[in-house]
Symmetry: C2
Subunit: 115 residues, 2 copies
DNA sequence: CAGTATCCCTCCGGATACTG
DNA sequence: CAGTATCCGGAGGGATACTG
């Protein structure tokens, strides 16, 4: 990495990266977003689709994702009300990030594990 | 995200991304790599440069980074021997990933926090 | 159906002291 | 100098039961 960055640029980059990772971090956030990208779902559908997650953790992760505007919670006035989660428009902005990460991850696994 | 991915493609992407995040995860790995990108350093120099890290954690993180070939440990036969860590050639491959993450992180912070 | 409440337990990681 | 050894607290997360 022959970066010619000043120390200040480096540390602001670092801060940005850490912020980004903070939003994406954890065992469940990306699986949830990707499940919702496939199709919007209700709470209990997510429980089934995201294998192994518990309701407590799902609720917590959904809140985090809502706060970061990656997921939208919609309430429909049916009887009883139905609540649907979907991936936001904004979540499209993750596309580049995810593709880059996916590419690097794939190449890296090949390098380290040979497969 | 109007992706037209099959479910299989999606889940292999997900796996790749999770692998990538696993390598980059944690509070210290990126700060260490970035410090070494600036200049190779010895153990105690890293302790000073990466503020707040303890020797136990530093040793542990350096091992992880060595295993993933992002950091190289070099031993020089001076008396006493000196041990120098440096960012590997391969760590350059992280450039794209880090830039993408940094860009997204910066934009995201602006969106969510307005600064 | 859509979550909360509760309990429990592991593990991350920090401080400090010590060793070859 | 370059780490290990030891101890320890707290947070994150899992299982399950319960509620409006």
């Amino acid at each position: 990495m022959k970066t010619n960055l000043t120390k200040a640029e480096c540390s602001s980059n670092l801060k940005n990266v850490i912020d980004a990772l903070y939003v994406l971090n954890g065992k469940w956030k990306l699986p949830i977003v990707l499940s919702l990208v496939n199709s919007p779902k209700r709470f209990n559908e997510l429980i089934k689709d995201v294998e192994g997650i518990s309701p407590k953790i799902l609720a917590q992760e959904l809140k985090h994702l809502e706060q970061n505007e990656l997921v939208v919670r919609k309430v429909f006035a049916t009887t009883p009300v139905s609540i649907v989660y979907e991936a936001s428009e904004y979540s499209e902005s993750l596309k580049d990030v995810l593709r880059t990460l996916s590419d690097w991850g794939a190449g890296h696994r090949k390098k380290i594990l040979g497969r």
